[in-house]
């Protein structure tokens, strides 16, 4: 059961980050597709190596209870940051992530930099490489934490790779940034899963008895989901008051 939630969490987190990376790669591609794709490829190899170099020794040499406590705490902090942002966006207090706008800005910025428009282009390579590495680092952290704590590093890595492939293919087929992807809903789902896994593993690491064992993760997702929907409702009520104050200026 926890394998399914693990795959879902890694897949969704990787998809969200991949959509953001894709926007940057597509913008870099307007200068040179070849260089943008080369930059993307090198970045993916670097991220994969990072998972192997850091993850395999962690799985092999660090005691599982210590690992679960530390990783659980990391997941809790990381998941809460995602969840908080998603709640603020869902309640309308924070603007939604606009991939179209980011793409236009990036294309305009890159267009102002002189350089080759055909063949190899150092700017396109660097922008694509940096974009994929920076967005991918969060994926690496999710893969490492969830994969190591579950002792299923390979499964987590495969789930991330599948997301990269699927989102990449969709991007290639539609050849534009994926602004229609419900990014905030996905971010919220990932936040809920990370917080639930984080609570479960940190609790396990400190000797908490979870009545339903692994199934408790589903219970935690449901309970955190309930609290989240209440918070969105409450904050949704705060928004008109803030808007009125804004309009009165």
């Amino acid at each position: 059961m926890s394998s399914f939630v693990l795959v879902a969490a890694v897949f969704l987190a990787s998809s969200v980050e991949m959509v953001e990376a894709l926007t940057i790669v597509l913008a870099a591609g307007t200068r040179s597709w070849r260089s943008a794709l080369e930059g993307t490829g090198v970045a993916i190899v670097v991220l994969g190596l990072l998972v192997g170099i850091v993850g395999i020794p962690l799985v092999k040499y660090v005691p599982i209870s210590t690992m679960r406590l530390v990783i659980g705490a990391l997941l809790l902090i990381f998941g809460l940051q995602w969840l908080r942002k998603a709640i603020l966006r869902a309640s309308g207090l924070k603007a939604m992530h606009n991939e179209d706008e980011i793409y236009q800005k990036e294309v305009a910025r890159l267009g102002a930099i002189p350089g080759s428009t055909t063949g190899r282009d150092a700017t396109a390579f660097t922008v694509a490489f940096k974009g994929v590495v920076l967005e991918g680092l969060e994926v690496v952290i999710v893969v490492l934490t969830l994969g190591v704590a579950n002792h299923r590093l390979a499964l987590a890595a495969y789930a991330a790779a599948a997301a990269v492939l699927i989102i990449g293919l969709i991007g290639v087929v539609v050849s534009r940034q994926l602004s229609k992807v419900p990014e905030n809903a996905m971010k919220m789902a990932v936040g809920l899963m990370l917080v639930s896994f984080g609570s479960f593993w940190s609790g396990e690491g400190m000797g908490v008895h979870w009545p339903l064992s692994d199934l408790s993760i589903l219970g935690l997702i449901a309970l955190y989901g309930l609290a989240t929907s209440i918070m969105i409702k409450v904050l949704g009520g705060v928004r008109p008051r803030l808007a009125t104050a804004e309009e009165a200026r």
Partner: protein, 75 residues
Amino acid sequence: MTRMARAFAMFWWDFLVGDTPELTIGVLVALGAVYLFPKGSTVAGTVLYAVVVVTVALSLTIEARRMAKRSGRSR
């Protein structure tokens, strides 16, 4: 070397604390509260959940207040 170490430390600081230190503090408080319970306790799990929920609610309240202050100041 020093620059690299500094960048590495900054990455983790941004990642773990960033502009929401209350979340990190809340998680540490939650884990501290669980530590007070004996091993094998079921109540500790409930306490962990409750502290985490309060932490998010607190963080959202701080952000809403910050926004209200900002909009009040610009009036």
